[in-house]
Symmetry: C3
Subunit: 266 residues, 3 copies
């Protein structure tokens, strides 16, 4: 009766189409993968092997087998796809993904300059064989795109066949949809959310304050990405009202009203 003495916001089970937690594996060992699954496997929807780590990690095949055994899809980092594009080796990447038994692929342009028409063509070509996560936004905190460009790119990438579109933040949460100090570009998010159903988006949100902001803005079932493995359980408590920052969502009406009023009074 795990904690059943409390009434809490409920979550749907896996496989999920919304409320996704997308985890950043920047070099986990098999024991750490096992630990993550032991602690919070039900909350892990998809794992990204960050940037080009898949090429140098010495435990790649064994780790992929581990995730596969637990039914957790794996995607390699978008920077690897960008390198393949820059070196004109996309077919080499495709062959390697097949060899590895990977069914998802990320297509981004956070590092290279990629004409959007070419990105769309690539999404369309890869969507025939893979589940595509495309990513919008630059890793360069100083390369700002106007909100209408974000919206247009996201709409076209979804139309081209992307399963979800990721909103860039880097591992640090200090670029793309955030300012250099980690603050959410709220006006940008508002414009995006005005045009696009949030369940088609996956917001990178590595910092706790960012996770809280998106949970309050879009609700418990917002898709969040670049979550550190050690933060998956914390995020799950935030979704379910079990941490101070969102505890008011697990409170009866009277207590909740008091807590909200308190928060707003500040």
């Amino acid at each position: 009766m795990t904690g059943s003495f409390l009434d809490l916001p409920q979550r749907g089970g896996k496989p999920r189409e919304r409320g996704l937690t997308h985890v950043l594996d920047r070099g986990l060992s098999l024991a750490q993968v096992d630990g993550l699954i032991e602690v919070a496997g039900d909350a892990v929807d998809i794992v990204k092997l960050g940037w080009g780590t898949a090429v140098v990690t010495q435990n790649l095949e064994a780790k992929l087998a581990r995730y596969r055994d637990h039914g957790i899809p794996v995607v390699l980092g978008g920077t690897l796809t960008e390198l393949a594009i820059a070196q004109e080796r996309v077919e080499g990447l495709v062959a390697w993904l097949r060899e590895l038994g990977i069914a998802h692929v990320e297509i981004s342009d956070g590092t290279i300059r990629l004409p959007h028409e070419r990105k769309l063509a690539l999404i369309e070509r890869l969507a025939a064989d893979f589940t595509v996560l495309s990513e919008v936004g630059s890793k360069d905190a100083e390369r700002i795109m106007a909100p209408y460009v974000w919206v247009e790119q996201i709409e076209r990438e979804l139309a081209a066949g992307a399963w979800k579109v990721i909103a860039e933040a880097r591992e640090s949460g200090t670029a793309g949809i955030y300012r250099a100090d980690g603050e959410v570009r709220m006006g940008l998010i508002d414009e995006i959310a005005h045009a696009i159903p949030p369940q088609r988006l996956l917001f990178e949100a590595p910092q706790r304050e960012q996770q809280v902001w998106f949970l309050r803005r879009f609700g418990i079932d917002v898709n969040l990405g670049n979550i550190a493995p050690d933060d998956v359980l914390s995020l799950e408590t935030l979704r379910r009202g079990l941490r101070s920052d969102t505890a008011d969502t697990a409170m009866p009406d009277a207590a909740r009203d008091a807590a909200r009023e308190e928060r707003e009074r500040r």
Copy 2:
């Protein structure tokens, strides 16, 4: 003869009544618990399963058994108690703690508004069956209490049966007894320490500089809390003069005087 070529400040062994290290488990796997005990188990006096993580972690019973096997008491996060209070389910929490074989409980009001009389009544009621750690201070960095209120609340909570009173800091060390930038509210600590024996207090001090400050202020055997598992060994070296920040305490008089003079000259 582990390092016995040096003269070092000595620590008492477990179980301790002072010099406690209170560790924040925010989602450890069994392997990580085993690792913590292998590396620094003698320095771990009590473990808190942070906020409501106990409700969602998928390895709860096994983890509690592991800590129990090693004689390390476990307490659940105060936020969970606060949710039980807000939902009027304190008896449900009590039943669950019994079922889990947990002998300690934390009672805080860092998130909800709780009339102090009610908090005291709860401490008294729970102290009949559990070892109570009560916590003073808000998780909201902007909700400041005057030092005399801290002192009064701590004194009354000890009188009501709390074993130790925890001074709040959050996981980040940026609220309660600290400013938003992590700096210690020294005037507040001075007023508290003037009225209350420090061994009855447990100062949350997640950052290294905070640990150093409290060790210099109250000595090697100050009780420190919210220590990250990966920082337990570092804290133990700080207590024993084995890290730069406190190394002067392990030096012979002449060298120590020179080091102190050096530090003060800056």
Copy 3:
């Protein structure tokens, strides 16, 4: 054919004389050591058991055996040597290192005041029996040395028998060769590099931006130290052009020129 579809900057294998990655072990368990080796063992050239952790960690002998089995040399933290000097127990330290089967020793003066002649004599004495890493720079962010003093000390320490000279940064990367905010003291590095071959130096560089800076300044095979175990794989991807920050080094000329131009235009 791990990632062989890409052309990437190549690295030499172990044992290396340049391109060293020096890892800071601040309290790893055996399972964590195993994990580090499983994931990126080929990239770990030497491990430091930070400051005085070797004296208090409860798994010392077993951990040293593990590193030995994998052919990874271990060195204890310089602060421990400084304590031995302050307590006039250097021979006790030497006996302990022999008993532990440790072949490397670090000699620093980041914490104590040590006349440079005495430091040089100690380097010379210990270099007869150990591989010596000497360290230059203070742990005190406010104790600034002029660049010519750095150069002079490094040159004399190499002449006295140091294998490599470490440039101090602390675990945090906020002292020695860095400003308190982590920014590289570029003028200092320029003066040092003007006089001393970089392969004789080991730059502590715990932060990603610092690693990127040194890789751009000195190339893929710069020696970097105080790397957190969890960052070893990331550093390896930075060396090999597999992360956004250095991806231009893995791009064909045209793409690289565009990326460089882009970076400089900002």
